[in-house]
């Protein structure tokens, strides 16, 4: 990345200023995930000046884009060459950026089979709290020179630095994709998913909600059609299936729509990340299950303590995605030893504590 790029220089000036004033900044891409995490604090620091795809060579399966590039533009450019971001990053509303996608670290329906954002991050250029431009990782898939800081940045919610540019591994779009439906209750659906999961089948996503299981298969045409025959069920028309998976990815499905009234009534949307084979989670409210059981969304009025307890009981953790009252914390607290490491890392990257203070945990 060009160190003398004017947009980059402006960011560096802002950081020096914020540091000398000890005035926190709220790093923003498109602002589409402002609702996610603890409430943002500080003066907005806009990355949209750093936009554009820096390099894209389809034969290398790598794309490098600056942080302020619109996610939609990036995905369109990939689509034109028959490629995609395999982890299906959600777009909660239009305007999301590549930097925001990496910082939030959220992955869509294909995550269980194809990996998360961090699995596809190959390199990052970031500005640390001293305003230094640092590049970690690179544009090649195998790289073990030094600690893998670029992947640590994925999901860090901006607390370690300002992401300026990222290199991502991309994949060819699967030649064939088909979706099957089954009318099964939760136990039957999960049991069946786990049986399939231990067989060589081209599974690419699953979603269960109120007695209906949808399973997506993707891969070589021959493999997908053989799997469809083996699995049975009824097939969903291609177009309906595409829009269904998109609405699941972007949370535009009915299940995710929490209106003013429901929010005011104390209802919240939680994401429970648990082992795929975890026992049934029992909470009041409604549930939607993805990732073959590893991601369980709950709409519930239950207290944070109760939701976290239910997740912890099966070896997982719970994150409040939407809700009015965030006083119980959005993210599950980590152990003392891990918090010590978190504090050490914060100190290592951002000693003056100017980047997104409190966005992940209050003390960081």
């Amino acid at each position: 990345m060009d160190q003398h790029d004017p947009a980059l220089e402006r960011l560096i000036d802002r950081i020096h200023h914020a540091r000398s004033q000890r005035a926190p900044v709220d790093i923003r891409g498109g602002g589409t995930k402002a609702f996610y995490g603890e409430p943002p604090r500080g003066e907005p620091l806009d990355t949209s000046g750093l936009a554009g795809i820096s390099s894209y060579d389809p034969s290398e399966l790598v794309v490098t884009a600056r942080a302020g590039t619109a996610l939609a533009d990036l995905e369109t450019a990939l689509e034109e060459r028959g490629q995609c971001l395999p982890f299906e990053p959600p777009r909660f509303s239009s305007g999301g950026t590549v930097g925001g996608m990496v910082a939030a670290g959220l992955s869509g329906p294909a995550r269980a089979n194809l990996g998360a954002v961090r699995d596809h991050v190959l390199g990052v250029t970031l500005l640390n709290g001293r305003g230094e431009v640092l590049t970690f990782g690179g544009q090649v898939t195998k790289n073990v020179a030094g600690y893998d800081v670029s992947r640590l940045i994925a999901g860090s919610l901006g607390i370690l630095g300002v992401i300026c540019e990222v290199s991502l591994k991309v994949l060819p779009v699967s030649p064939a994709t088909r979706t099957l439906c089954f009318d099964w209750d939760e136990d039957r659906a999960l049991e069946q998913l786990h049986t399939w999961g231990s067989q060589p089948l081209p599974l690419s996503a699953s979603a269960w909600h109120e007695g209906e299981l949808h399973v997506r298969l993707a891969g070589a045409a021959a493999a997908v059609s053989a799997a469809c025959t083996q699995l049975g069920g009824t097939e969903l028309a291609a177009e309906a299936a595409t829009s269904q998976w998109l609405s699941l990815r972007d949370h535009t499905q009915q299940f995710f729509a929490l209106g003013e009234a429901q929010l005011a009534g104390g209802e919240r949307l939680w994401r429970l990340s648990v082992p795929a084979t975890a026992a049934r989670v029992k909470l009041p409210g409604r549930q939607l299950i993805e990732w073959h059981g590893a991601q369980r969304w709950w709409r519930t009025t239950a207290a944070a303590r109760e939701v976290r307890g239910a997740a912890a009981q099966v070896g997982g953790h719970a994150t409040m995605i939407r809700g009015v009252d965030k006083s119980d914390g959005v993210f599950t607290p980590v152990s003392d030893v891990l918090m010590r490491i978190h504090r050490g890392l914060k100190q290592a990257f951002d000693p003056a504590c100017i980047f997104n203070p409190g966005r992940l945990y209050a003390e960081l």
């Binding site: 060579d57 699995d119 090649v140 020179a145």
Partner: protein, 500 residues
Amino acid sequence: MSCTPAVAAPTYPSREKRQADLVAALAEILPFGSILFRKEDTVPYECDGLTAYRCSPMVVVLPETEVQVAATLELCHRMGAPIIARGAGTGLSGGALPHQWGVILSLAKFNKILKIDTAGCVAIVQCGVRNAAISEAAAPYGLYYAPDPSSQIACTIGGNVAENAGGIHCLKYGLTLHNVLRVRGFMVDGEPVEFGSQALDAAGLDLISVIVGSEGMLAVISEVTVKLIPKPRLARCIMASFGDIESAGAAVASVIARGIIPAGLELMDRAMTAAVDAFVHADYDLDAAAILLCESDGTPEEVAEEIARMEAVLSEAGASRIEVSRDEAQRLKFWSGRKNAFPASGGISPDYMCMDSTIPRKRLAQMLRAIEQMQGKYGLRCVNVFHAGDGNLHPLILFDAQVPDEMRRCELFGADILETSVRLGGTISGEHGVGVEKLNSMCVQFSPAERAQFLAVKRAFDPLELLNPGKVIPTLHRCAEYGKMHVHRGMLPFPDLPRF
């Protein structure tokens, strides 16, 4: 070559006294039989797979329980003794090279497979379990652990996590990082810690990303939860011959460019196939300047479709001969040569140094040409066998340590390959790690601010820098010296001084 440079020179009266103090203190927490300190007992621990570098450890301990590991760490931390974790010692960058004032913490006795969960497709294993043992234990359930370093019959999963090891199957199935869910272990002061979780993610920062590949410098790993994946129904392998090595390199880029992700895509040049064939008779085309091994796996229908596409791309790219494995026996025969490339190299040269850089695939042909020229420049031979699909090169530089100056020229040759890789947009290590071997090259790939940031990351885990000190991150001073030496490329000042 001798020990890792001390970060701060210790001020003990004598090595003997320090050793006696450490042994006495350790004897209070460990059975006496698991403490080695006599020279004859510690010799096997003097080096890892990078045998050109050796150092006598002060003490070696072989704890058997997690409680003993924690107590050892706590004690060493209190006494300010460096600790070097060690798995099977197959590392190729000197990561497990002892420290002259340090304790080698061998985890060889942590060799139990704790659980195979077939419904969840995970295995929970102790860190000292061999890589291949996991797949063997999972085989009855139709599952396996995908990352398969060539050293898989010997190397441990703890060492794999510490190096983010790769293998032939990583092109399609990912590196160690992509196949590990949770790592349990201990901080430098003995406090238990857990990174990742049994779910697909964990709360907070994604710390497992830095633990994987941390070369024993951030924490000691005691237990690993890995993903198992269903064995494909069928696998077939193509052996394609090329009349010159550059077209073989270009063919690799073409395969990927067509949207094919082979289950393995490896390249070997003629010098290598000849050496290997003499060693295991893998039926290679010995007339070819280079061969590619290109594998497809999946359902029989899928494999048939993909093999046909691969054959088309390879012949278009100029393959002079294409042979597809008829059956499993022949497929394994093709791979047996690849898997024995390293031992076979031992047969054609007294010593060899295995390099490990990664470059963008489109630069393969250019790089291979550059290596050919370097052979003349340094007066040494180099054979090539590598993970071509990932752009991960393993040039093996052949030399004889007994011949004056060959070791030095070999090192210069290696450094030249690494620097060329960085210049071509790549990296100095794809899977073997930096260890002590690539400390100088780190100065080339990273700026002083980036190296300072690495050091700050280390201190967030290990403030006193006792875990594997002196590895991976070169000091500013060292980089300054290396920069100076560079000016006189090929004419090192003081060639006989150790370069650490």
